[in-house]
């Protein structure tokens, strides 16, 4: 018997209509842990370079984390891996909710989908019984509607469903996979699911998930719960409201959005409205939010309440993900009330909350600039909010201009031409970023933006504060109970960091310190993504309950494998390096490792070069950002080096 994990994957070939239950190799668990790590290994082994996102050969892997569904609070993430139609690299997308634990209760660690079905189908996993079922009657239904329809059809309210909406069916490059109150949104995995003719995966499980050292494991879980309570009672002083506590940013609970609305950009990531947040807005938004919010809700086995059930009068009820409430609002220069209304549609259609509003705002900018004309938008209303409602319908159906905007800002700009490329100013590696434009270069963020394989800052940052507290005394106070640091030097980095002067951005943190800080944050995310832990209790917030000191104990007690801090650090390095290797194989190089040109007003090319060089060196990459044979050997990834040698990747760059 295997512990922590199940030890079996489900292999589904939609072209042949075959379903197989396949035992996995425990040696892969030792090396890659699970979740993203083992997904990446499968992608390396079975998806050759040059594989198109929309092809039979592309795999779509729904992987649960190693500790998903065990008693560990908040461990419920599904990591979805495939080739992205938008970035043409590995899509790195994840979702919380209830799906991953349910899959493990059904007796599988992963569902690996290959091939394409000619007719729309859905997969029904009911413990040992797995069927590919006709989904013709679900065609065109929203993601939430689909889930409800399947539960009714199969007569079990406890079935967990991951589904696509119209955007996925029509292969919108930023279509999401929706599931309960969560979604895997980034990189267009919903479009790949649609291309495969797979409307949904429904799961019901009634089996056990076992752990190797039960008493020890439960002690660890109880300690985590205690610390969560402690953090709930002790928000971090001096930080903006939205950053004080645990969980993903508490957008559904907290009304105070001063930080987001005045620091982030509106429109197509263009305008900062420093004076936006007023008492009147706060009162109005409070009323809006409290009127539509029925209940704060959680994911599987998690005491945080990061999501909410939203019932806007006259619209079907839906469940809201954290930040979507503001992305549409801000892209459209709209009101919060509009944000809640359009998010209902976006959830049913299955759209990424970052890329969709930016693509729409981008289209409207091109109209304003005369690059697109009124004829491109027949019948579009005049008001901004009305225009967004108009565009969302066009995009998910790929009608007219919607067909172009459905490819995201990068590809749309190239299809439109005529100077439109300049308006695609907020993408990294063809992928829309947070709408954020700042003044002074921040060396830590420069590295994370440039090099992160997730291509999405919120999924890379965390742990280390985004800014120094104003006084040295306040920073000294902050580090006092900061036991999560992997090394004492991080406390010094933070205490010495000043808001202004010599010891401030861009030259402090120093190049070396910046690399260390990024390395730590990145490692924690890679560990979370292998274990299936929600970043909201680990790598994302300040002072989280899971950290590098208790994680090895968790893994050991759950699986029975030997594990210590060094070995876990190494496994995270291995997974990080393998993700880089996959993207290198898809053609990614140093030239791609850069933030949007206008992300910071003040840029420092020499310093940026030093930062990138030092980061590559620390990571064991050569100056093109390619993992070296030596580094790969140390990580037992010699097979990667061999392929790179054979294909001439080292010699041709």
């Amino acid at each position: 018997m295997r512990y922590g994990e199940i030890g079996f994957d489900l292999e589904v070939d939609l072209s042949r209509g075959s379903i197989d239950r396949v035992e996995t190799d425990p040696r892969d668990t030792k090396l890659y842990l699970g979740g993203l790590g083992t997904n990446a290994k499968i992608m390396w082994d079975r998806v050759p370079p040059g594989t198109e996102a929309f092809s039979e050969d592309n795999l779509l892997i729904f992987g649960t984390g190693l500790l998903c569904g065990t008693g560990a609070p908040g461990c419920n993430r599904t990591i979805v891996s495939t080739v992205s139609p938008q970035t043409k690299l590995m899509a790195y997308s994840m979702m919380g909710g209830f799906w991953a634990p349910e899959l493990k209760y059904a007796g599988y660690d992963k569902v690996i989908v290959r091939g394409q079905s000619e007719e729309l189908v859905y997969l029904w996993i009911n413990n040992d019984k797995v069927e590919i079922r006709d989904a013709a009657h679900l065609k065109g239904l929203g993601a939430t509607e689909t889930s409800e329809a399947i539960r009714r059809e199969l007569k079990d309210p406890d079935i967990q469903v991951a589904a696509i909406g119209l955007a996925g069916e029509n292969r919108v490059f930023y279509a999401s996979v929706e599931q309960g109150r969560s979604s895997a949104s980034r990189g267009g995995i919903g479009a790949v699911m649609g291309d495969k003719g797979l409307k949904a995966i429904a799961v019901r499980g009634k089996k056990d998930i076992n752990v190797a050292d039960p008493a020890k494991y439960m002690d660890l879980c109880n300690d985590v719960l205690k610390y969560i309570k402690f953090r709930e009672d002790n928000p971090i002083k001096g930080m903006p409201a939205i950053l004080q506590g645990l969980g993903s940013p508490q957008e559904m609970r907290i009304v105070d959005e001063e930080w987001h609305t005045t620091s982030f950009m509106w429109g197509n990531s263009r305008t900062r409205r420093k004076d936006f947040w007023t008492h009147e807005i706060e009162e109005k938004w409070r009323e809006t939010q409290e009127n539509v919010r029925t209940r704060l809700i959680s994911c599987h086995n998690c005491p945080m309440k990061c999501g909410a059930t939203i019932s806007v009068p006259g619209l079907p009820t839906y469940m809201m993900k954290c930040y979507s409430k503001l992305t549409y609002t801000m892209a459209a220069y709209g009101d919060l009330d509009f944000g809640f209304k359009i998010a209902q549609k976006a959830t049913e259609y299955g759209l990424d909350g970052f890329s969709a509003p930016q693509s729409m705002a981008f289209g409207l900018e091109l109209l304003e600039a005369g690059i697109l004309t009124k004829e491109d938008f027949p019948g579009m209303p005049d008001d901004n909010e009305g225009r967004f409602f108009y565009l969302i319908e066009k995009i998910v159906r790929r009608e007219g201009i919607g067909d172009i905007l459905a490819d995201g800002t990068y590809w749309a700009a190239r299809r439109i031409g005529n100077g439109a490329e300049k308006f695609d100013h907020n993408t990294i590696k063809k992928h829309e970023q947070l709408p954020l434009k700042l003044g002074m270069l921040n060396p830590v963020y420069y590295l994370m933006y440039s090099t992160g394989e997730k291509i999405n800052i919120t999924q890379i940052e965390g742990q280390f504060p985004q800014e120094p507290l104003p006084t040295r005394e306040a920073r000294e106070e902050f580090v006092k109970d900061w036991f999560q640091v992997p090394d004492e030097k991080f406390k010094k980095y933070y205490v010495d960091w000043e808001p202004r002067g010599e010891m401030s951005n861009p030259y402090y943190p120093t190049v070396e310190a910046s690399c260390d800080i990024v390395d730590w944050m990145e490692k924690m995310h890679y560990i979370d993504d292998a274990l299936g832990m929600c970043a909201g209790l680990s790598s994302f917030p300040l002072k989280p309950p899971y950290h590098i000191h208790n994680y090895p104990e968790f893994i050991k007690a759950a699986t029975g494998m030997e594990m210590d801090k060094d070995e876990l650090w190494k496994a995270a390095t291995r997974n990080r390096t393998l993700m880089r290797a996959l993207n290198v194989r898809f053609g990614m190089r140093r030239a791609d490792d850069r933030p949007p040109e206008d992300h910071w007003k003040k840029r420092f090319p020499d310093l940026e070069k030093q930062l990138l060089d030092a980061y590559y060196k620390l990571k064991g990459f050569n100056d093109q950002g390619i993992p070296t044979p030596e580094a790969l050997h140390d990580l037992e990834l010699d097979y990667v080096a061999e392929e790179f040698e054979q294909k001439g990747i080292y010699s041709h760059g």
């Binding site: 209760y105 009634k206 056990d208 809700i297 959680s298 005491p303």
Partner: protein, 179 residues
Amino acid sequence: MAKVKKIVKSITIDADKCNGCKACEVICSSWHATPRYSSNNPARSRIRIVRSPLRDIYLPVYAGEYTAAECTGRDKYILDGKEYAECDFCRASCPSRDLFKEPDSGLPLKCDMCEDTPALDKPKCVEWCLADALIYVEREEEVEEDQPELGDVEIGIGSMIDKYGLEKVLDTIARMAKP
């Protein structure tokens, strides 16, 4: 029979506070696993959440008595505009549904308030519900003397007798008991 005073343990359910996370199901099935905490499986849990997020229904229910026959109750209740089935509130392990039954054997499950030596402060589900939807309550009641609580094995054998008849169960046990 004489009346005696006894501490009755119960859980008050504040359904408005439930956020549907299922931590109660995870910890209950984990506590009752053999060896303790060695596995978890909500299907074996003695507390379950009747959950319908889009209708805003979150109703934790903990397992009560086993009953051999289903009742006739099929009424609907509308509370705060939300429709519940009578069954949603029922704590019985009964033939009309597969709630509160071991998934492998079909044997009934009943909440035992996590009885242990030494006694816990409160049942595990209450401890793990940080949303405070589950509130542990002890009250003193006068009950009939000599009514020992049935244990898992007795409840299980009782349900087998209901299903197969006493004679067949006795025969089977006698046959199995032979060396």
